[in-house]
Symmetry: D2
Subunit: 359 residues, 4 copies
């Protein structure tokens, strides 16, 4: 179990979906950063289930409380602790899971890791763990904005095979624009098509994957630590640690594999007093270090493994069995992944900011 | 500068292309693993420039020496140190770089990170740094094979827009089959097309990107550390820390975003005494932990930034300038990235193996 | 700020004396360890102020709550979070501190570290931070006892110049025997003399230092990680990180400097089925690794810097000023340091236990 | 095996006494620090055996070579690798050790840790491992002197029961003064008495312990990381990780336990433009952070376990056996520990310097 992330800005998340609370401790934030529960709550609300009639209908309040590290609305430079109570707390029910592992869930692998009888740790594979990430990530976002004017906006760029057109004005994109439609795609036409697809998938008792695109703006040049803690490497780790993430790419990403150097290279140009690049196929990172251009990356999420259909699978002993659907599920988690992607980006950038401030 | 990787199996690489030597120290390998210079040399030779007439013609011998950690061909359980002398050692020449940063190189970002006059660290962004990774990774590979029978084979699956068909028998694929053609694509027809493309690109004074696919076999179920050190998260960090990597995906990867849950879920079936899955869209990892199926991932590499063409760009002050090509370059580094991908995969798996052995 | 300790068993403490709560998160405890709030409360009560009329009269309840990581009284293998509310919560009053730094307090150094105006972090230098250590350490103690039968007992061996005679039966010493007298010296005659000295010091408005001796029993041979994480090195770090600690020694300690090798060497003898040593000048550790004998070390604590006397000192600008005593203070903190020493020992041993279980 | 030390300035040592080489990699040193083999060699020569007729007569040259991280005598900001060849290389001879573990050596504990048959790791418990520490520590010393004007001087303050009087002018003490007599006690009368004692002990075939005192000057206020990486805590870990160290104390140390607060408190006074303290019982550290006064600490070393006398002990099976002396030994290692203590102090201070530079 590795519940701690970061070298200079360290976050530790804790809590199971069926326990008393979930949350996080973040250590390394400088003093005098304005930080209140209200600011953290905003992103928590964006992560919350039940934001529309097509997401999970559980509507826990998910209210954050700050237990330490602030005074009079300012950070003290000490560990900040965020706690969110589990109101909907139920004792873990592993009876059905014990009979047959759910396909493409963590049931089987956790059992193999922690031993056959243990329900150990499984609760940490739950999406509810990401609450801790969002609280700590929001604090990191505030630090980045206050100290560097840097900000982060993520949005849904694909649901299933519906892909939004390239957003022209990534530098001007706001979270308000993203949130106009609850699928969190700022292109309204695509958003509506995505909604239709999600409703169709839902009525089929199925689920669907999608892609989140993220842009980080006003990140100063010079962040990232060669050799192993390159900025893109830590972003990749951060994103691929989010439940259901299956792919990560930065800048031109996989498409760059099909390009020639003369096409891909970002030529330098003068830009209001600094050196910039005419194009941004590098995605704002060269040689593992930010170059001052917007950092752009994409994260692919698989469809939720929990579906409303029967599945013919095997139980733990290997006997064929039919797994029946139980309860409700979220047909497409990607809109709710948006604040989680933003949070993890903020944690990586905050970490690298502190690393560079040491020079 | 973060030159150390791993939690339980820690590797530190060192050395600049223009210094005396490059290499690595690996700490955490158990005792009594058979480890000789000859075994390490095999992968170093696969990484070496000058393996064909279309790669970089520098042909340094790159001979590895083990300085510590073994006796009579066996590891002692102490740090193993690998050193490879730089025969072609030249004092760093930063005169042209000082005038104008090379587009999509690390020149500009390193300067912004370490200060305007310093040539600091730039040598660590060189591909030569990967020698240390290959030496330590080869040692980790031997550990994995000896203790668990696990092995790793990577190969080139795309060069530019030429993509090899899906390899049916990933479980039977050998490095010998991969190395039959120097582009390291085991599908001979694709390999020949790739070679033609690389020769064309080369004669244009250009470069081309590509994709490396990697399969890790006989990895026991249970490896990987939730929450932040999920197996796919550490693989992502490891791969994205390789110079020129722009994308990472595991299992169905980005394609999974377009799938429905009922399509993507890997149904369980009995497989010679263990529980396996009928399909492997998860790529051998569920919930961050290996499930006993082959681990399959892909890494996208951009085209080399160094090209044989003039580039109209800006100097450090922002004035337009023409950057002329200097010397020779490697039109496609992807075949040589194959052993580096294998090495980084071995370092991650070795780390997670030790993590799990602690349970 | 480095609020995280441990390699394999990681504890993060949080909270300021004037904030909402203090506590800790401990990550790495195996599943199925019996762990309840009641068990943790026992050591918290031993650490609590106001246990006798001569300690700090603040009598906060210091009631622990477990927020995560357990179910039905058993650990889940996930992070366990302990929270203790600050009932006596008052906004930080830095007005007098702002005028003049208190001699031998952290006022001046924290100001120099975090900047002149900031009250940053100072709350973390408070003794109240040790609550988090005691909660997490108690959990580690339970793990050590359950899995290995190992236990830890610390006691006060000196107060001022009163030093208890060597305890003959360290293997049979119990916490009950230690707690018979509130100064926590199991030798009753010494305990009474210590009490008299503490009362005398108190009536003088002064404070007094002391020494805590700790014995760890039934620790298996083989714990400790050469080279830098030797068992005695991590114990030293752990103990010297306790507020007011000024010295650490293991086995014969400083006295060994005056010995000859022929006097100091611990000769091996057969001991019920294992190899033991006839003497234990090594304090249970040789070459950084436990040898199966009781681990014995001592920690020296300076007298509390807060005293009830006027002190002629300088303000931040350097002008001479008279610092008047404010409020009440604890004339001798050493009895209350006993459970803190035990907690830190448990965290180190738990960490090394997990490290060794990986082999 | 934990061969890496430091958070921001990371050093990894490698090598066994019977292998090809020993050395270290240090990562995190800023660029443009003047660093040459000649400067490192000075401290290596002070650590070398055979400096007088009463130390170990092995006289290996111990010549350091820098393999990476510098160019034209300046650091590059990349990992610096130091290698010292083992000229006197002999295959490990464990035949006698295999029969009976040497009392108070690491033979038994290493065997219990790594398994009964393995000679694993034992070579890392050898004093020769400290060569790596001295090379990296010397580099850290140069960084501290160049950037902060900080320097470190250690000396022998006790051998056996001969203790030098308090050195009045710790701020003016030089290494030249320390090295005037080969026992490295700057008080000549004490040095001569110590020499006589060592000769007597040697002629008895015995060994003797001692104490090293260390002073670090011009360390700026503000270094050290609360809570667990307090400056005294990391110094304690660093010193207690040196082979044969049994005790550590800072400032008044164990003596402070017998003091009253009114005696121990260091009153503030104005000192050439900064706030200083009239006394220095804190040893330059308050609340885990440097206060600008000299940092003073002491390290107790036990007598070498290897002696020239027969010892009646038990073999691995538990049968009584007589262990005969083999070869020559060093009757008092404390003079040679002086540069090792300085090196470890420099590594801790360099680490904390980088930590504080990040604020």
């Amino acid at each position: 179990m590795s519940s701690t992330f970061g070298n200079f800005l360290k976050v530790t998340t804790f809590g199971e979906s069926h326990g008393g609370a979930v949350g996080a401790v973040i250590d390394g934030l400088p003093a005098n950063i304005p930080l209140t529960e209200g600011k953290i709550q905003i992103q928590l609300n964006r992560r919350r289930p039940g934001q529309s009639d097509i997401t999970t209908p559980r509507s826990e309040a998910d209210t954050v409380k700050i237990l330490s590290g602030t005074e009079n609305g300012l950070t003290l430079g000490t560990p900040v602790t965020f706690v969110v109570e589990n109101l909907d707390q139920r004792p873990g029910d592993y009876s059905s899971a014990a009979a047959a592992p759910r396909p493409s869930h963590a049931d089987y692998t956790y059992t193999m890791k922690y031993g056959i009888t243990a329900s150990s740790g499984g609760g940490r594979a739950s999406a509810r763990e990401t609450i801790g990430r969002v609280t700590a990530g929001s604090a990191a976002e505030i630090f980045l904005l206050e100290k560097f004017g840097a900000d982060i906006v993520a949005f849904v760029s694909s649901v299933g095979s519906i892909t939004a057109p390239i957003i022209d004005d990534l530098e001007g994109l706001t979270r308000e624009a993203v949130d106009k439609h609850f699928v969190r795609c700022p292109d309204q036409k695509s958003a509506e098509a995505m909604e239709r697809l999600i409703r169709e998938v839902k009525s089929d008792g199925d689920s669907i994957g999608g892609i989140v695109t993220c842009v980080c703006r006003n990140v100063p040049a010079g962040w990232g630590e060669p050799v192993f803690d390159k900025l893109e490497a830590l972003l990749a780790q951060a994103m691929m640690s989010i439940p259901a993430a299956k792919g990560f790419e930065v800048g031109a990403g996989f498409a760059s594999a099909a390009m020639r150097g003369s096409e891909h290279n970002d030529i330098f140009v003068a830009k209001d007093g600094r050196l910039g690049t005419a194009t941004n196929r590098s995605g704002g990172i060269q040689g593992g270090i930010s170059n001052g251009e917007p950092i752009i990356f994409r994260v692919a999420f698989k469809p939720t493994a929990t579906i409303g259909k029967e599945q013919v699978t095997a139980d733990y002993i290997g006997n064929e069995t039919i797994l029946k659907p139980t309860g409700r599920h979220d047909p497409c988690v990607v809109p709710r992944a948006v604040p989680v992607v933003e949070a993890m980006a903020a944690l990586v950038l905050g970490d690298m900011a502190l690393g560079q401030m040491g020079r």
